[in-house]
């Protein structure tokens, strides 16, 4: 026998289910008066630094239908590439930018639209710069454990080409599943859960 390490196991994940809105976006679900507003709906204000953009996200199932009951969270650096988090020891983030957003997909169209700013570049763990990106986390009925992916920006070809995470993707044709094309001030990011265009998801 040896000494026990005494570690605990992470609590096992369970699906967020069809009623995730009650807990995470109750005002959207019609439960008003409990919380003043739904957390994560406002990422920016008038003073936020950086280029204003909008990000349209859909999550599409293996039959080609957009999920109308998903919940999407994004997490990103500010315009200078700093995260608004105590764990980012490189400096203070823009106090007028939360860095975190949360929206339900529309019950009819399956779309959600984040109003945010384009993030700056953040270093990879070896010091190389990653291309600007959003960290994206998806939960829904039928998804047993939240899915982590990233959205990169279609108009950042040079940065994307040298991004250390994108370079780790073995099948180069799959890189495009993480790159959202730009149309005006809107980036459109379709996340495919299955199929020939299945998005790259991370175990991170």
């Amino acid at each position: 026998m040896v000494q026990a390490l005494g570690r605990l196991k992470e609590s096992a994940s369970q699906t967020a289910g069809p009623y995730v809105h009650i807990g995470l976006t109750p005002n959207f679900a019609g439960i008003s008066g409990v919380y003043e507003c739904d957390l994560g709906t406002a990422m920016v204000n008038d003073k936020t630094r950086g280029e204003r953009i909008r990000v349209n996200i859909r999550v599409i199932d293996g039959a080609g239908s957009p999920l109308n009951d998903a919940l999407v969270e994004i997490w990103q650096a500010d315009a200078a590439g700093i995260y608004n988090s105590p764990s980012d020891l490189r400096g203070s983030a823009d106090p007028n930018f939360t860095g975190w957003g949360r929206l339900p997909t529309d019950m009819t169209t399956g779309e959600c639209l984040f109003e945010t700013i384009k993030p700056g570049r953040v270093p990879f763990f070896d010091g190389r710069k990653m291309a600007p990106h959003l960290t994206v986390w998806i939960v829904a009925r039928g998804i047993n454990i939240g899915l982590h992916t990233r959205m990169y920006f279609g108009d950042e070809e040079t940065a994307n080409a040298e991004d250390p995470v994108l370079m780790r993707i073995e099948q180069k044709e799959r890189v495009s599943t993480l790159v959202a094309p730009r149309d005006g001030d809107i980036y459109k990011f379709d996340i495919h859960l299955q199929g020939i265009n299945e998005t790259v998801f991370f175990d991170i």
Binding site: E10, Q14, Y35, N84, R141, G142, N144
Partner: protein, 252 residues
């Protein structure tokens, strides 16, 4: 659990998180839970050591909380009213895999009412709504990772999956840690509920111990006599490596 350090005395930790044990968590594709069939990625996940994008995460201050946010019996009820049902406290600690309390973390919960009915437009169960029960609550963990909610015990309910599937009574938990890689949603079940082991969603988890880890224990010592029974539910998030030495040694 031991080992709680005061967060006030420590600088934020920035070490990588322990890898997720994907055999402990439910797999994505679980045909007995039918909705997972078309919603489960089929290609391997790309494994990657954490970068700043996952080591950091949003932190919420106490200022977002209202007085009744952790009291589901009253936070939707009319003046002088309260939700119908068996009154319970749900309490516990948010820990990481090292057994260290996770301080200042946002927990959000949602649940059905005592009859098993959710306040949601897609809900079709015939059990009635309780006019005094909304079904959501939230809290931020204390210095040692502790939290507490007051609520009513939710009822079991039928759901369209198999011809006659019922969910065990449960409370949904959404948990933020200190890094976005720790983000977790899970469900709490109640000790002794015979529906737990029949549920296709519970059984997406393959390891019995992992299911037991989601089952809250009745704690008669923590009850409020003539008021509320108590259930203890500890939640564990991914641990993280110490950064005292090894990052430099490994050149990270």
């Amino acid at each position: 659990m031991t080992n709680s350090r005061s967060p006030a005395n420590r600088t934020p930790e920035i070490g990588s998180f322990f890898p997720r044990d994907r055999n402990w968590h439910p797999p994505a594709f679980t045909p007995a839970y039918k909705t997972s069939v078309l919603r489960s990625p089929q290609r391997p996940l790309l494994s990657l050591d954490n970068t700043l994008s996952e080591l950091t995460g949003p932190v919420f201050g106490q200022s977002i909380l209202g007085e009744l946010d952790n009291d589901l019996i009253h936070n939707f009820a009319g003046p002088g009213e309260s939700a119908i049902g068996s009154r319970i406290l749900v309490y516990g600690r948010l820990l990481d895999e090292r057994g260290i309390g996770v301080a200042g973390a946002l927990l959000e919960v949602w649940q059905a009412n005592a009859g098993g009915r959710y306040r949601h437009k897609k809900e079709t169960y015939r059990a009635p709504l309780d006019p005094n029960f909304g079904g959501c609550g939230r809290a931020i963990t204390g210095e040692d990772g502790s939290y507490c909610f007051r609520t009513i015990q939710p009822g079991p309910y039928p759901w369209p999956n198999g011809p006659n599937d019922w969910r065990p009574a449960h409370i949904h938990f959404s948990i933020f840690g200190h890094g976005f890689a720790q983000r977790l949603i899970t469900q709490m079940y109640f000790e002794g509920d015979p529906m737990i082991w029949r549920c296709p969603i519970v059984r997406t988890i393959n390891d019995r111990r992992a299911i037991e880890g989601l089952t809250a224990a009745l704690d008669m010592e923590a009850t409020i006599p003539m008021d509320a029974r108590a259930y203890k539910f500890d939640i564990v998030l991914r641990g993280r490596r110490s950064t005292l030495f090894e990052n430099r040694i490994e050149g990270n």
